[in-house]
Symmetry: C2
Subunit: 236 residues, 2 copies
Amino acid sequence: MRVEIWSDIACPWCYIGKARFAEGLSRFEHRDEVEVVFRSFELDPRGAKGVTAPVVEMLAKKYGRTLDEARGMEEHVAATARAEGLAYSTEGRLHGNTFDIHRLLHLAAARGRQEELLDLAFRANFADGAGVYDHGTLLRLAVEAGLDEAEAREVLADDSAYADAVRADEREAAELGANAVPFFVLDRRYGISGGQPAEVFTQALQQAWAGREVPEVSPAGDACEPDGACAVPERS
Amino acid sequence: MRVEIWSDIACPWCYIGKARFAEGLSRFEHRDEVEVVFRSFELDPRGAKGVTAPVVEMLAKKYGRTLDEARGMEEHVAATARAEGLAYSTEGRLHGNTFDIHRLLHLAAARGRQEELLDLAFRANFADGAGVYDHGTLLRLAVEAGLDEAEAREVLADDSAYADAVRADEREAAELGANAVPFFVLDRRYGISGGQPAEVFTQALQQAWAGREVPEVSPAGDACEPDGACAVPERS
């Protein structure tokens, strides 16, 4: 089975949802036959690159709250994250454009290091106050994830590198009906929206597993069966 | 959209079906958004490695026909292949165990050269009379496909390299309901069995595309929407 997870590094429910999904997956008996792929979704695609603002200011503005109330909102998310065993610092977290870390995550996918980089990026953004917005930090994370430094530097320097891959992921999210993240898709058959409790993921995995036989859309054509028996064309 | 194609190199309908699928895909308007992945399926997994027999002898035995009749069967398949623009030689084609070429195809997938190697392997087996059964030929094909020679040699020498990947593909085929090849799976939602005419593939691609929105299996959980609006936890 294949699970695709759309998320943004700037999304705390993605950070929390990833941990809850991992917990749900660990309780699923066929977990060793599940391939997990991470896909790009930018919460703020129109935000200027490299321009950041404190998250609490962004929250206060967006929800029409005071800075203290916005801080309270962050504290609530932090408490939820900590309940999942995730480090979360509410001090000085920044909000900004995540296009470059998504491009880098596609390079990491091509090199078999995607989840390593994703975990480091979440941690940098939510636990370490490092953010994922300046190239120095991104390069450090890339190297820590096992990527080649020169290659990562090249991708960061070239705005077009993996840009199409990020946009293709975002287009696919829209086509599949995902308009918020995290969004989990099981075998392109079932969707799960949001950072659900672990048991919701386990149940969905079981449901998708049970119904995975694919119906055929047309009568079978000429084919070969095990032991080498191939359909023989009709003699004319 | 993602299309997975289960096939065996020893299967002429897989060789023909791949060309027909490519033709059907080329007529599909969203072809640039289709990712194609090739998966392993052995027709003769119990055949001893390195032991081969002429295909016509195998066919005669399997169908209880004379060698001449078996040759006629091969000629019919060859004519079908040639009608698709594929080279096909009926002289001296061998049948055998394809585990090693499947292992090598998984290495090629990891290096982004899977389809290159698959096309070369089909050609070696059906057009050039080279077969895909001895390591010398396999190594030559691997290098021609752009793989590193030392790495390919290592994989061939180590029976366990990518063995689990081949078996996982075969287990998945069984779970999805595929018991003959070629077998095409569109977004894990629709199956197509056999080397169908190109228009069957085009229609199936259109049908799968139209119905690709994934139903959600549970009410949405906490999530972040574009422009940074994240669900705020209920205050206790």
